[in-house]
């Protein structure tokens, strides 16, 4: 009898809590919709507006940034430093929506479009590129065009503004960060790494079992085999006239020696090429365990970060092929139903500024993505002075070896041919 009474009062207490919660959450919910009653800026209006007007409209607003948030240092830097700076400069409150996979955001937007939710969306800007951008652009869930009208667009190279993995950008996303392919090695094990596609072949054959690459369609593994394709694509072509757009005849010409190269090294790979590491994490582990002598990444400072975390030996370094290293950009886009496009534009423009790029280079060791031509002498000196991790190559060194990303069609075809002619051999 007694226990029943006790349970009774517990349940009553819980009811009271839940009731209060429902009530308070409903109230704040209503409050939110009331404040965002001002109609959102349209891309057409933005086209004819002066930048100062956009900045004025953004002041006091709130911007929700859907950002991949699987990195501690990056989260910390954006939530404290970048959010503080944006508040101070423009009076914009920057909030973050944690994202595990950008495809989730694109799906959400497509669903919202299907349901006719064309305004009052919860996301104002999103970090995006490649396939996700293509899906979002084709699905018509992006706000724009806007990128070419941003004041800081002048700091970015023409190839970054034109194509994202072969998809025409057309102003629907603004270039933001640069990634470039590097290979890590350990100077204690390999004093002089093979710095070209040709030398790599010889090295692998004379060091059986010590090299492997990530199995495509892994992003990094796919980039590795693309370097070989690019090497053969460029043979017999005038370097200056080299074009990244897809050409069937040229592909056929280059793919045969590419597959031959990969099959030639296959018996000398880790585990005789019967299996490949499936994720960067696995390749990292093999390298740290001294089972293989190289790992690769699209992040030029990745080896320095691993050294700092105690995962790679202090003697780890990175190199790029003399033949060049493929680089690409990641971008910022605005969803079609963003509640505060004006605020997003201002934040995006800030993230494209030399001041921010320098700050992020100092805080996170990110590759400096801007053209040096548009920089002041002071800024240029600051870029030179960016602290590099022990294993990171200089900005100038990376820029010198920059290769453009091939059309996405090359990527798809090569991955298919690799699966059929190299993996299953």
């Amino acid at each position: 009898m007694k226990t029943v009474k006790k349970n009774d009062s517990i349940i009553r207490f819980l009811f009271a809590i839940i009731g209060a919660l429902f009530f308070s959450q409903t109230l704040t919910g209503c409050g939110n919709t009331a404040t965002s009653s001002r109609p959102a800026l349209t891309a057409v209006q933005f086209g004819s507006a002066r930048w100062e007007e956009v900045v004025a409209q953004a002041a006091g607003g709130e911007v929700n940034f859907a950002m991949w948030s699987g990195d501690e240092a990056r989260n910390r830097y954006y939530q404290s430093s970048v959010a503080g700076r944006v508040k101070e400069l423009y009076g914009v409150t920057l909030r973050f929506t944690p994202v595990g996979d950008t495809a989730d955001v694109v799906n959400k937007l497509l669903n919202e479009k299907g349901a006719g939710r064309t305004a009052g969306g919860t996301i104002d800007m999103v970090w995006i590129n490649g396939e996700n951008f293509r899906t979002a652009k084709q699905g018509g869930v992006l706000w724009g065009p806007f990128a070419e009208a941003l004041p800081n667009i002048k700091h970015f190279a023409e190839d970054a503004r034109r194509r994202d993995f072969g998809t025409p950008v057309e102003g629907y996303e603004a270039p933001y960060q640069r990634a470039q392919f590097v290979i890590a090695y350990d100077t204690a094990r390999v004093p002089e790494p093979p710095r070209s596609i040709e030398k790599l072949r010889e090295w692998i054959k004379s060091h059986p079992g010590r090299f492997t690459y990530l199995a495509p369609p892994d992003f990094t593994g796919s980039a590795f085999i693309r370097h070989i394709l690019l090497f053969y694509l460029k043979q017999g072509t005038d370097e200056a006239a080299f074009d990244v757009s897809f050409d069937e005849r040229r592909y056929q010409h280059a793919v045969a020696p590419t597959i031959a190269y990969l099959n030639e090294i296959k018996p000398y790979l880790w585990r005789k090429g019967e299996t490949y590491p499936a994720s960067p994490k696995e390749a990292d582990r093999l390298f740290a365990n001294n089972e293989i002598d190289f790992t690769m990444s699209y992040g030029p400072s990745f080896a320095s970060e691993r050294i700092a975390r105690g995962e790679y030996p202090l003697t780890a370094r990175t190199f790029v092929f003399d033949d060049g290293a493929i680089g690409n950009y990641s971008y910022l886009a605005i969803p079609f139903n963003a509640s505060n496009p004006a605020g997003a534009l201002v934040v995006i423009n800030h993230l494209m500024s030399p001041a921010h790029a320098l700050d992020q280079g100092r805080a996170l060791g990110s590759l400096f993505p801007l053209l040096s031509a548009g920089l002041t002498p002071d800024e240029r000196a600051a870029v030179e002075a960016l602290p590099l991790g022990p294993a990171t190559l200089t900005v100038a060194e990376m820029a010198k070896h920059q290769l453009p990303e091939l059309d996405a069609q090359y990527l798809e075809r090569l991955e298919k041919d690799w699966r059929e002619k190299a993996l299953r051999q």
Partner: protein
């Protein structure tokens, strides 16, 4: 009754096995959250660090607000699920009516459909009714997958209780509320506890539904956790997993104790 020694030994071994099965993964998680780097074939991490835990308890990680969001949603869902399930299960257990099988099938449908398809549909529907991006919407969406479990479990409890007990109490002059308090509730309490804990745990572990319906506005703990799992920072993912596990384990533990007391 005295048990033979062999049974005792077998029981002890079984207890050790069960505890081991639960404890070993937990111990691994705990050590991974404190390890700098830890690769096969090392048996123990080469060096230890509090980095992950320092991050988890820093304001940047927003773990406390996510915990509050997760808890408030899960508690609301648990209570609402039980409130919906009680009359439904009572009717299903005690009354015969046309289309009862169809009702049971309809109840099971959200559990039987592939979660991704169901979630996308729920998202579209909620969008139409303006329920997305709110706490209430997220709680409602969790109800869809919790109500079936709660109802089916309580149906079991009600079927084991003879409706005549209620009739008898009423014949003796008890009011409806007294019948509930003194007859029905004590009889179904164990089932109620299990149903409630199930509802809590299901809501507690929702990821995709919260992400889509909550639109990132309602940030429960799984949202933060999944980002780090996919990001490959194992130490932080392990620490967050332990934070995520604690309330769920507490619920399971207290329900187990309650069941034992009510035996």
């Amino acid at each position: 009754m005295k048990k033979p020694t062999t049974t005792k030994v077998a029981e002890a071994l079984a207890v050790i096995a069960v505890v081991g099965l639960a404890a070993i993964p937990l111990a691994l998680l705990a050590s991974r959250s404190l390890a700098q780097s830890w690769y096969w074939p090392r048996l123990a991490p080469p060096s230890w660090s509090l980095r992950a835990w320092r991050y988890v308890f820093s304001p940047t990680a927003e773990v406390l607000p996510s915990l509050a969001a997760s808890l408030s949603v899960a508690l609301a869902v648990t209570l609402s699920a039980v409130i919906v399930a009680l009359p439904a299960s009572r009717a299903l257990a005690w009354q015969e009516f046309r289309g009862k099988r169809a009702v049971i099938f309809a109840l099971l449908a959200p559990v039987l459909t592939p979660p991704l398809a169901a979630t996308m549909g729920v998202h579209s529907l909620f969008l139409r009714y303006g329920l997305t991006d709110t706490w209430v919407g997220v709680a409602l969406s969790h109800l869809i997958s919790t109500v079936p479990y709660a109802t089916l479990m309580l149906t079991g409890s009600f079927s084991r209780l003879d409706p005549d007990y209620e009739a008898q109490a009423r014949t003796l002059g008890a009011k409806a509320i007294d019948v509930w308090r003194n007859v029905t509730f004590p009889a179904i309490a164990p089932g109620l506890a299990v149903a409630a804990s199930f509802a809590f745990l299901i809501s507690w572990s929702q990821y995709l539904t919260t992400l889509l319906v909550g639109g990132g506005r309602v940030r429960t703990l799984p949202l933060t956790l999944v980002a780090f799992q996919r990001g490959g920072d194992e130490a932080i993912a392990a620490a967050l997993s332990l934070v995520f596990l604690a309330p769920a384990a507490a619920v399971a533990f207290s329900v187990a104790r309650f069941l034992k007391e009510n035996q």
